[in-house]
Symmetry: C2
Subunit: 170 residues, 2 copies
């Protein structure tokens, strides 16, 4: 099955991480491909890298939106490598749960050609669960999905103006 967590609310990446933890508890093999997640910044990687049966790969860790001096060409090369890794994981058929964290952003920003990833996803082993996160999911990705959850931010007056906090937002 292909699951998508999208929308402007909180909980997309964290839901995918929770699914990884749940699957590991049942002795499944899990691979996580992360886009645009700086290793030094996000807390989850520090814990996840120590867990058995879990492999985590990080590509294009710096998104040009936050790091202005990053070359688009470098991002595209990194995303190409990520596609190769995804292709390898799908071909090997050893992985039970494959998480493609922020893939939707890589597609939205045209670092990854949607047709290329659609082709890969269509060839996934039937038993492999694939989870895709990120806002602005492409309609061709949505069409492939068996289950879509739209995380909607319900704004609240108190929330306005609170900055991103270590250990919570990242």
């Amino acid at each position: 099955m292909i699951q998508i967590y999208t929308g402007n609310g909180k909980g997309k990446t964290t839901a995918a991480i929770g699914l990884a933890i749940r699957a590991l508890g049942h002795n499944k093999n899990v691979s996580i491909i992360q886009f645009f997640k700086d290793k030094k910044f996000y807390g989850e990687q520090k814990v996840l890298k120590h867990l058995k049966n879990l492999k985590i790969y990080s590509f294009a860790s710096k998104h040009p939106h936050f790091y202005k001096n990053i070359k688009i060409e470098d991002i595209k090369n990194e995303c190409e490598k990520a596609l190769e890794k995804i292709a390898k994981i799908i071909k090997e058929k050893k992985c039970d749960l494959l998480i493609l964290d922020e893939l939707n952003i890589a597609i939205r920003d045209k670092y990854i050609d949607v047709e290329k990833i659609v082709r890969l996803l269509k060839n996934k082993p039937k038993k492999m669960e694939i989870v895709i996160t990120g806002r602005s999911a492409h309609k061709k990705i949505l069409k492939l999905a068996d289950l879509i959850t739209d995380m909607r931010l319900v704004k609240h007056p108190y929330y306005t103006g609170i900055k991103s906090r270590k250990g919570i937002e990242y």
Copy 2:
């Protein structure tokens, strides 16, 4: 801050677990109070119980919706114990992130008096992050929250008829 993950979509409990993993990566102390989650059933507990700085407590592990021979009185007693544990954690002020998993269901089904939990939550230390999950969040709980994410299930034809799967849904 108080965060709520509610709605009929997937990802509420898993988002909370992901937040726990993220917080642990930044050396925070995390406590999880779970309602209606059978230890033998859910995969996450097997992994979470081995993690440093994380405490997980399970109450009323069998919901009468699934286990018809459970006495309502026993559920209420268990929920009362859960409230005592929550009160203790809040009073001790040692916990950075407190997750109340499926608390919304316990309130909805009247096993927990909403006024009692509101009173507790209002006395939380300013720096303690509290995350509440479960569909059908009570309006008095929503009112307390600083951030609400509504997980909306976007149904898809393929999904209809697929049963709950080990390692994914539980």
